[in-house]
Symmetry: C2
Subunit: 561 residues, 2 copies
């Protein structure tokens, strides 16, 4: 990764604190993908980077809790695990005793019966400079007060003639820690992070970094974890802010990446800001791919089974699966009933062909007839669910026979409304679309078709256009469309956004200009479907507030307003 030079403009007057840096220090942002609990694997990854950069850097900077992965949840309550983590840290320090470069690393730290979320420098065989997190996030998807003790103000770290101000994730989001570090003489601010992806998070992080810069006039290094962990995706996108307050360096999104920056380079005022080239659709798509890829990898699986319906959700999920594990590892099954349109069969087949995945048709009619012989009164919603459940049964049986994991594909609009069959189309190990609204699904497909257009010339894009053009339908009865039961998705998704992401009450939502009865109906369905969501597969958080650990509602809930 190369950084645009700034030689064409004279440097601005630098703040005095910045000028104090003794001599150029080489700092390497080490954006790695740690696995929760995998001490052996994480140490191997850290050692590999350490060896690779030996001689080329002074300090490798790893993310928050990189030693144990994030979030380790109740592993942090397991004394045996914490002791092994401490042993691993000592082994790591000892491993690097002959290296000239040091590493800065996030690790849990036990002291006087308390547990801290800490950073240490491992330098020439020694563990130096424990500094501890002060602000423990305990909102949204975070539960750090369950595990850690909050520390008081932390001192600066003198490292090879430069004064570093180290902050751990949340500490960076408040003004006080950086200001205190500056008052202690810090010359560079370093944040180590495990910051989960959200659609707007990259902008938020940059805004906060620029706020910290404007308060302190110090360059900033921001190292984020990358990788999927259950329902969270860490997107990487590490960056640096130079002495002009510009985002002068960026690391990749959604992949491991390393970048070495010299402190004198960081201390110059740059004329050029490194642009962010991703757009909302590509970010969401890549987050879903990484979420699925790492869920499979970190749970020891590789194959994917997916039920293709000829609809947009399963088509996008199949594309994501192919990106995650390769077409060779994805098998699609189309399971038509008498209600399945020929167009659906055609579209599913074309989609599988475009993606290069194996494709099979297993009609469910004979099973349905067999069931109806046994339970002849089955009708209405029960009959619709029956079809969905027979499909789930076929997929799960295949999964048990082959070891491939079923990917389930209900989008956020459906999961919010309960427009999904428990133990039917909700069967599966992971749902890459779980936190993506239906209207966003369409936008992502459009984006995907445009970006892939070059590779799939003549096909009209990976996702067949007729899938995008037809009105969405579950095809569980004749002439059904989603809009028989739900408002148009454009309206539904807006209202859901008010109720979920903005956490507005029914009346506050109605006051935004929506039909009162419609808002009440949607809010009621949202509440009623909680029992389904609590039995649903995990899926990557994409929005500001997902429907799992980001929004923790009771199933039994007597609040109706």
């Amino acid at each position: 990764m190369t950084i645009p030079s700034n030689s064409s403009r004279p440097p601005s007057v630098l703040p005095s604190s910045v000028l104090q840096c003794a001599k150029p220090l080489r700092l390497t942002l080490a954006q790695i993908n740690s696995s929760v609990g995998d001490l052996i694997g994480n140490c191997a990854k850290i050692k590999s980077a350490w060896g690779r950069f030996e001689g080329q850097t002074d300090l490798l900077i790893f993310p928050e809790l990189a030693l144990i992965g994030y979030p380790a949840q109740d592993l942090l309550l397991n004394a045996g695990f914490l002791d092994e983590a401490e042993k691993a840290l000592h082994d790591l320090a000892s491993y690097g005793r002959n290296y000239s470069c040091a590493i800065l690393l996030g690790t849990p730290h036990q002291k006087d019966g308390e547990l801290y979320n800490s950073a240490v420098i491992l330098d020439r065989g020694e563990i130096l400079h424990h500094c501890h997190k002060q602000y423990l996030p305990n909102y949204g998807v975070f539960d750090e007060k369950r595990y850690f003790t909050a520390a008081e103000k932390q001192p600066i770290i003198g490292f090879r003639g430069t004064k570093l101000g180290v902050m751990i994730c949340e500490d960076f989001w408040y003004a006080e820690p950086a200001q205190y570090l500056k008052s202690c003489g810090a010359e560079i601010l370093i944040g180590i992070h495990a910051s989960p992806f959200e659609k707007d998070k990259i902008t938020q992080r940059q805004n906060i970094a620029q706020q910290r810069f404007s308060e302190n006039q110090l360059p900033i290094i921001y190292v984020n974890q990358v990788g999927g962990q259950d329902s969270l995706v860490f997107d990487g996108h590490s960056f640096a802010v130079n002495a002009a307050g510009q985002i002068s360096h960026r690391l990749k999104g959604f992949d491991e990446d390393f970048l070495t920056i010299r402190s004198d380079e960081l201390l110059q005022t740059a004329s050029h800001e490194a642009p962010l080239e991703e757009q909302p659709e590509s970010l969401a798509y890549n987050a879903a791919c990484l979420g699925l890829r790492d869920y499979l990898k970190k749970s020891g699986q590789s194959g994917v089974l997916i039920g293709l319906s000829g609809g947009v959700d399963s088509a996008l999920a199949a594309a994501i699966a192919v990106d995650a594990v390769g077409a060779y590892n994805v098998h699609a099954i189309m399971m038509p009933s008498r209600f399945t349109a020929q167009q659906s069969l055609d579209d599913a087949a074309l989609c599988a062909q475009n993606l290069g995945i194996s494709y099979e048709i297993i009609p469910i009619e004979t099973l349905m007839q067999s069931f109806m012989t046994l339970e002849p009164n089955t009708q209405g919603l029960a009959h619709e669910n029956l079809q969905s459940r027979l499909r789930g049964l076929i997929l799960m049986t295949r999964s048990n026979m082959t070891g491939a994991m079923v990917v389930t594909t209900g989008n956020k609009s459906e999961m919010a409304m309960g427009y999904a069959t428990l133990y039917g189309d909700m069967c599966g190990g992971y749902n890459p679309l779980k936190d993506i609204y239906k209207t966003e699904i369409y936008r992502i497909c459009d984006w995907l078709n445009q970006t892939q257009a070059a590779q799939s010339a003549g096909l009209g894009g990976i996702i067949p256009q007729s899938i995008l053009d037809r009105p969405p339908s579950a095809e569980l009865r004749d002439n059904q469309t989603d809009q028989d039961s739900l408002p148009p998705y454009e309206i539904l998704d807006e209202i859901l956004h008010h109720l979920i992401e903005k956490n507005l009450s029914i009346s506050a939502t109605i006051a935004r200009g929506y039909d009162g009865d419609m808002v009440k109906k949607i809010a009621t369905l949202l509440k009623r479907a909680e029992y389904k969501r609590q039995q649903s597969a995990p899926g990557p958080k994409i929005s500001r507030r997902d429907l799992k650990s980001g929004r923790r509602y009771p199933i039994c809930n007597g609040y109706n307003s």
Copy 2:
């Protein structure tokens, strides 16, 4: 409820602080069953008690957060809900303006942008004496730091000539708040609680109460919530400690109850301690009944469907369902395959007959044959799961047709080991046995058969004895028993108890004297089944550490020790 008189023994010398009470105060412990979010219903319940005790008491004492129910989870982040709760509190105060008796009530309280877990006294139309919780539990099943701000030391409350020291739940578990209240002149300590049931919790609460007494020599009133809420059961069992430090008054377990105590009565030293008559088996059974009953009631359901297998788990679950909602509301379906023994059919039928529930047999053989025609290679584990899933399909279809909720019956040993079929026997809205080990299931059945023996004379107990005598089997292949795949339950449950409740590492568990390979195998299965548990139905917490909100482990977990 009457209390044994203490007139036969002269009172001991009372501590001076106790003697300061100005005149007898009548205090009523109001152990009510609030519903989370149901402001209208909870207020109606409070008003009803208020009216009933008007003229008979001075102060009605309701549980922690009785106005809104506990735990309200992310409803506490909903500004509209909090505003409505505040309005409801004002309405309630106004409602009681002409009553001579006051109420002490737990309520959320918004102040200066912070939210407190508070207690107020409503007296003659006024809202008086906000006092706020100081210690916010954020461990185990608790997440109060997500919602509330911790308060500083709280003052005593002067009420009609008596100085009351009010504590909110967790504050009672620490020495400092009570000692401070005593130092301020408190004459009676009052704790309002939402303390969830655990097998040993009643003893724990009493021990803490006696600890507080020994530190302060003040009588204590402990009012606990009662009722089920999703995966928690609040067992009531409110009590009072008299001036002799004895548990002098007890309220019912697992039901609403009220008891009025005069302060002079409480200030006497009693010669007699009110005995706790329940045993571990009855406590667990009653907790499961209340959990299921309230889950149904508070989610607006009444009917129960259950798959009877002829095994012990479904038999006990059926008995619990009958206790929860009445035999008339429970329907059992036996779904035999070629692997089902005649004894299982006989036992299931006898069990249904003993319980007085409707019973039906739906063989799954034709469905299996139909499926095997479609997928002829299905064998091994896939074939076993297929049977379980066809049964789930039948139950869920019936559920959709009738509106009755499927009760699922996997015990804690099975849920820990993943010895259950996802989307098969795990289908259901609620699992009353989820946190009860298999060995405990047997003990509860034995207890149940003894207690019910009088009513079912000649039947040998509600649970047919042959169910208890036969080796447990899933009957998914010929001659199968659980012990083909699992260690004997006596050993398994002990090892699981070390790994789960005691949170020991593998090596620490082996050090307790168990076979190393066996412990490693069990720990590995426990870890691997996390993905199933995260898609499982809720069920009541019975143990110290349940496998849901009490033990929050990642699915992707690289820790193997």
